[in-house]
């Protein structure tokens, strides 16, 4: 029997995973405003036999308390546009765009993804999100986001309606090569997991270690089977960032050097955004202003209190807390070591049932992606765990799913 294959997705929003990544000498912060950059990274992903490139998205400007950060890279150009342009310069790699069900109509979604699906020759994917940031609502004429359960209920209706519209587009022609785009989801909450189990063909998640990966994948496979779907028809793709080196020590030193590019001001801007409250006027050497945060945050206060209370009790200064917070972004697996160690780790996760593959989040762009493609991809291929050519032309074929899915959600 063939060894378990590892699927690779590339999450390429922004200039890299670390907030300080854009300052790295091999990062190209001006490039993300040029087609040359997107052509280069799309071809790199194809060279690395990635299933797909994914862009995340938000529908609000970054920042907190009305202040735009000065030190955080924020070139959130529209993902559908970037990915469709990348389709024009590639042949195989899939293109997965994050788009909200709360702030788009089914008609808008169906036309946008239907056109992307046709012009890419069947390589479109939709990362379905319901939008969780409260600053989004005023950009669409509303005061507040709908409550979470309502957003998910609505998302289900929107996806079903969009599928009907794709079915109609497909009948009218030209054909949608996959019938509809591949449906992708990243919900973490019980609502999100149930929605993913019913709807998604690929799922992202954070999993800081192999046990967390096994837990998540087992839980999702149980939920998928419970709604009558085949768990083997869904790819589970936890996030993975990395810093590579010739030795483990070298990788750790490089990781520290990237983190050290960030000063207190960047760390506090990052924390401000994460807490939904502008803290840039506070003294980094002073105490964490917990009362102010809980008074002003636009995010759920209980969650925020849980995040800051332990540090407050230890008397950690604001600047130190912010720096620590920034060093562990979003609960993802950050691998530090040699390319051989990384390939071993990836194979171990796959064999343990912790994932079907990984969503690579390079630490800085494009250097981090280049290193992975040049140094880790060949090792995975030598060990028979990664394809050396694409099996077909559509994203479904690349994922090993049936070529055309019945158009239901």
């Amino acid at each position: 029997m063939m060894d378990k294959q590892i699927h690779l997705w590339a999450f390429l929003q922004g200039i890299g995973f670390f907030p300080s990544g854009w300052m790295h000498e091999r990062a190209n912060p001006a490039g993300v405003f040029s087609m040359d950059y997107y052509a280069r990274v799309a071809k790199l992903a194809e060279q690395g036999m990635f299933d797909a490139i994914v862009f995340g998205d938000q529908l609000q400007s970054r920042g907190a308390g009305g202040r735009t950060p000065e030190r955080m890279a924020m070139p959130t150009l529209d993902p559908v546009s970037l990915l469709t342009a990348m389709a024009a310069v590639t042949k195989h790699v899939g293109l997965v765009a994050t788009v909200s069900t709360t702030y788009n109509t089914p008609q808008m979604l169906a036309e946008r993804f239907g056109t992307m699906e046709r012009i890419s020759g069947g390589r479109a994917g939709w990362n379905i999100v319901t939008t969780a940031h409260p600053d989004t609502a005023p950009n669409f004429g509303e005061d507040d986001l709908p409550p979470k359960d309502e957003r998910y209920r609505h998302a289900k209706e929107v996806v079903a309606k969009a599928c009907e519209l794709w079915s109609a587009m497909d009948r009218e022609g030209p054909l949608l090569p996959q019938g509809r785009p591949v449906l992708v989801q990243a919900g973490q909450s019980p609502d999100g997991r149930d929605f993913a189990a019913r709807t998604a063909e690929a799922i992202f998640c954070p999993a800081a270690n192999i046990e967390a990966g096994v837990d998540f994948r087992s839980d999702l496979r149980t939920r998928i089977a419970a709604v009558g779907r085949d768990p083997d028809g869904v790819r589970i793709m936890p996030g993975l960032s990395c810093v590579l080196g010739g030795t483990e020590e070298e990788a750790r030193a490089t990781h520290l050097a990237i983190l050290d590019l960030a000063d207190d001001a960047l760390a506090i801007e990052y924390l401000s955004e994460s807490l939904g409250c502008d803290l840039t006027a506070f003294d980094p050497a002073g105490a964490i202003p917990v009362d102010t945060i809980l008074d002003r945050t636009i995010l759920p206060k209980a969650d925020i209190a849980r995040a800051i209370t332990p540090a407050q009790e230890k008397g950690t200064p604001l600047g130190t807390f912010a720096a620590n917070f920034m060093r562990h972004p979003r609960g993802h697996n950050v691998f530090l070591g040699t390319p051989e160690q990384m390939a071993d780790m990836m194979i171990a996760w796959r064999d343990a049932g912790a994932c079907d593959g990984f969503t690579l989040q390079p630490s800085y762009m494009p250097g981090g992606l280049e290193d992975f493609v040049e140094q880790v991809v060949p090792l995975l291929q030598q060990r028979g765990r990664l394809r050396t050519e694409y099996p077909g032309s559509t994203l479904r074929e690349t994922l090993g799913l049936p070529a055309r899915e019945p158009v239901t959600a």
Partner: protein
């Protein structure tokens, strides 16, 4: 600068939405010397034109890419972001034409006002991108828009950069006119009221008379021609053969469409004279 003669065409063939058809049509449009290719038109949009613009951007170098945007099936926050991205990907070759069919009166104009307000929320010189100091941008150049129209209320700032053109070219069509005083380009047919715009393109068939066209251009009555394509692959070479000489002096141009066509952003339309500048030292 010599007043440029402008060649434009619109395409609304469903077949344009697949790569095997679209790629040769784009090549033919560039070979014919077209300045603008308008994707979709009022009442005929068998595709999402903004998506096709993004696909066309890396496959073309001089063609202006104009998206027909239906006011009733789009939101200015999304439109402002998509056109900003495409304007970067095409290095300043983007335009848009808002059509109002099926939309309540005033919605198209509201769409234009809202998207312009979002683009104007970012200064031309916002980006710093200085790795040494760690300053990515100058936050004082980013502001909320607080746009409130009859149909769209958008606070902003939008999470997209001001486009390289500042605002993509606004194209208005005499068939579905917008009450916008400061559009960049108007398309009109003989006998039709000409919408207000900086440049006026006459709608004609591919076999229109060359001598008469030149006379009307030299008299200042028109700034160029617009063709409604129905069989793009056969019509584009005919257009190139008949009218290509009028644009051939500019055939080596690429990039910034406002500079090439002599169309600065109207001061009534924007709070800034130009588009976004990406620092070169980054």
């Amino acid at each position: 600068m010599t007043r440029p003669f402008i060649l434009s065409a619109s395409i609304a063939e469903a077949a344009f939405a697949v790569p095997e058809s679209a790629a040769p049509i784009l090549r033919a449009a560039e070979a014919a010397g077209l300045d603008l290719l308008v994707m979709g038109r009022s009442g005929a949009r068998p595709f999402d034109a903004q998506v096709l613009l993004a696909w066309a951007a890396p496959l073309t170098s001089r063609l202006g890419l104009v998206a027909t945007v239906p006011a009733s099936n789009a939101h200015p926050f999304h439109v402002a972001r998509a056109l900003s991205a495409i304007d970067f990907l095409s290095a300043g070759r983007t335009g848009w034409s808002v059509v109002s069919e099926g939309a309540p009166q005033g919605m198209g104009e509201d769409m234009v006002g809202a998207a312009r307000a979002l683009w104007d929320g970012w200064g031309s010189d916002t980006l710093i991108l200085d790795k040494a100091s760690g300053r990515y941008l100058d936050a004082s150049k980013v502001s909320v828009s607080n746009y409130e129209g009859a149909f769209f209320k958008v606070v902003g700032p939008v999470n997209a950069m001001r486009p390289p053109l500042g605002h993509p070219l606004l194209v208005v069509d005499g068939d579905a006119p917008l009450a916008v005083a400061d559009a960049d380009i108007a398309l009109f047919a003989d006998g039709q009221a000409v919408p207000s715009a900086s440049k006026r393109l006459l709608k004609v068939a591919p076999d229109a008379d060359l001598a008469e066209t030149v006379a009307r251009f030299e008299a200042g009555e028109i700034d160029g021609l617009h063709f409604t394509l129905t069989e793009a692959l056969s019509q584009l070479p005919l257009i190139g053969a008949r009218f290509g000489a009028l644009v051939s002096a500019r055939s080596a141009e690429s990039g910034d469409l406002r500079a090439r066509l002599g169309l600065p952003i109207p001061s009534t339309a924007s709070n800034q004279p130009g588009g976004a500048v990406i620092p070169e030292n980054a």
